[in-house]
């Protein structure tokens, strides 16, 4: 009797464990499948453009006139617009982010760290369109005045706001990376007579550098995919920017501004999906690099 009850109990336990294992497995597989399906969809919708347009002309063409007759689909200006805004955002957010992470992880009394980290992460809670609107009303006139520009709708305005949007990602990951450095590294350095600052920048930062680079790359991915804020702040001029004070048009803003009016199946529709493919590939590469650095940390 006891033996048969035990057997029944074991059977039920094994069955439920089996089910749970399969659920977890399929959840993981589903995530991968969704990403693959997204890419296949992008490819299917975007690739039809290249039956009539050459890939080289698409990527290197300087003019984006999608509603002209005949239409001209050249995304070089959009690509450079996205890269300039991203570059600007990185130049602003990485020093600030690294400094913030060092302060939170190494300088602050331990009891306060969680509060500060939560504060930085709250920046991620501000909706993109709100940042864009605030930037349009306050930052754009300020940039025009400060640098005596013809218009404040520039790469710089977009970059500043995007830097704020990238900060939570960068600070959070870099701070985690600093935390992951074994305590005895610090103790060894201090024991040898190094100052606290010397310990931080000669020992802790080099040891955490893979994580720092990963944080930067994920911040880059966040910035390059940003849409509403850049649409509102950069002036959307499809030119090759020559400086941070020029207006620019990003790939993301182009998709957002024009997808609503593109009729399904039209060449304009395909062209916007083709831009989506380019964006997907760029962010995929960026995340791949970030992942590489994250895993290199284990060596």
């Amino acid at each position: 009797m006891k033996s048969s009850q035990l057997t029944t109990h074991n059977s039920r336990l094994k069955l439920s464990e089996f089910i749970i294992e399969k659920l977890i497995l399929w959840s993981g597989i589903a995530s991968i499948i969704f990403v693959i399906l997204i890419f296949v969809f992008l490819l299917k919708e975007g690739a039809s453009l290249f039956r009539t347009e050459s890939t080289i002309h698409f990527i290197s063409g300087k003019f984006w006139y999608p509603i002209s007759t005949p239409p001209r689909f050249g995304i070089l200006a959009l690509l450079m617009g996205s890269l300039w805004v991203t570059l600007g955002a990185v130049l602003i957010s990485v020093p600030l982010g690294l400094g913030s992470a060092i302060f939170i992880g190494e300088i602050l009394p331990r009891g306060l760290r969680d509060y500060f980290k939560s504060g930085v992460e709250l920046l991620a809670a501000i909706p993109s369109v709100v940042l864009g609107f605030v930037g349009l009303v306050t930052l754009v006139p300020f940039v025009k005045y400060l640098f005596n520009l013809r218009s404040g709708l520039t790469v710089l305005s977009g970059s500043i706001m995007l830097a704020f949007m990238a900060m939570p990602t960068i600070v959070s990951i870099i701070e985690d990376a600093l935390n992951a450095v074994p305590k005895n590294y610090r103790e060894g350095s201090l024991a040898l007579g190094a100052t606290r600052w010397q310990t931080i920048y000669r020992v802790v930062i080099p040891a955490a550098s893979p994580g720092i680079l990963a944080g930067v790359m994920l911040g880059v991915g966040r910035v390059i995919g940003e849409t509403m804020a850049v649409m509102m702040l950069t002036g959307n001029a499809a030119i090759l920017p020559k400086s941070f004070f020029d207006p620019a048009r990003t790939m993301t803003a182009t998709i957002a501004a024009e997808m609503g009016e593109a009729v399904q199946g039209s060449s304009h529709y395909s062209a916007l999906f083709a831009i989506g493919i380019v964006l997907f590939l760029i962010t995929f590469l960026v995340n791949l690099v970030a992942d590489f650095f994250l895993h290199r940390r284990k060596l």
Binding site: K62, F63, W64, Y65, P66, I67, S68, T69, A77, L136, V137, V140, P141, K144, R150, S151, G152, L153, M231, M232, G235, N236, A237, A238, I239, P247, R249, A257, E258, G260, E261, A262, V263, Q264, S266
Partner: protein, 281 residues
């Protein structure tokens, strides 16, 4: 018993959904017209509490594309549909019907402090194609011109392209200069022009406030230079006045037809005037 109850409940929900769908009208399109359509919708819903109208903007191109794609009941547009668009719609089984519901004076605006007060169509074309880049050419200060345009999904963008940039030659070779700043909405143009003394932009008359100054426009250098007003547009003497349209995916029926009739009624046209557009006579 539980199953029967659930089944009846789902029937009830499905029934409500069918009932609700028949009383809901989705309107999409022109940023110029979105405020006007919203005002019409509110007045119409006050008189017909059982009908729900959803009004969104997104641009005339978006409205027309939604009509073709079958995702709206009524498209608003500040430009007429192209032959190619009508063809696309028919291929998808829709037969677009056009209704002129109001008139608009397309207003060119500059900062109130800008001394330039009038421009010809030719001059406007040269500004927006990048041939003229400094205000000095037209009696203004020695400053670079900051030209602002609507985005491509806008009917105002297309109308201005065909009637001003291309000087009335719809298929002409002229294009907006790539360096033109493209603004997502008429409100964004108003915002920038009100703060930037070097800016010039365009939008529907309904967006004009005391923060911007309207430019008088003429077809020839000899004039006459006409200010955009209710009166000049109504009399047809303003050179870049235009019709505002509703499009339906077929002959309108039921609530959609009632709404269009309301918009065209004296009460609806009074709302047009209140919103600073030009009522039909």
């Amino acid at each position: 018993m539980k199953k029967i109850g659930a089944f009846l409940m789902s029937l009830l929900i499905a029934g409500s959904t069918i009932e609700a769908a028949q009383n809901r009208i989705q309107i999409k399109g022109s940023d110029t017209m979105v405020n006007l359509a919203q005002a019409w919708a509110e007045a119409f819903m006050a008189a017909h509490p059982d009908v729900a109208l959803a009004v969104t903007g997104g641009g005339s191109g978006t409205g027309i594309a939604s009509l073709i794609n079958g995702t709206c009941d009524l498209a608003e547009s500040s430009r007429s549909m192209k032959a190619e668009e009508i063809e696309q719609a028919k291929k998808k089984g829709r037969d677009p019907k056009e209704f002129v519901v109001a008139l608009d004076a397309l207003t060119v605006v500059v900062h109130p402090s800008n001394p330039v007060r009038q421009l010809t169509i030719e001059q406007l074309s040269d500004i927006f194609t990048g041939k003229i880049t400094n205000w000095k050419s037209m009696g203004g200060p020695d400053h670079p011109i900051v030209a602002l345009s609507r985005e491509r999904n806008s009917g105002t963008h297309v109308y201005f392209l065909e009637n001003v940039v291309r000087k009335g030659n719809e298929k002409g070779p002229e294009e907006y200069d790539p360096g033109i700043l493209m603004m997502p909405s008429s409100q964004a143009i108003a915002e920038e022009v009100s703060k930037n003394p070097d800016a010039i932009g365009y939008f529907g008359l309904g967006y004009l406030t005391s923060q911007e100054k309207a430019i008088a426009v003429a077809k020839t250098p000899a004039g006459p230079f006409i200010e955009p007003t209710l009166e000049t547009a109504s009399k047809g003497i303003y050179p870049i006045a235009r019709s505002l349209f509703f499009y339906t995916p077929g002959e309108p029926k039921g609530n959609v037809k009632a709404f269009i009739d309301f918009a065209l009624s004296p009460q609806g046209q009074k709302i047009v005037q209140e919103m600073d557009f030009v009522p039909l006579k």
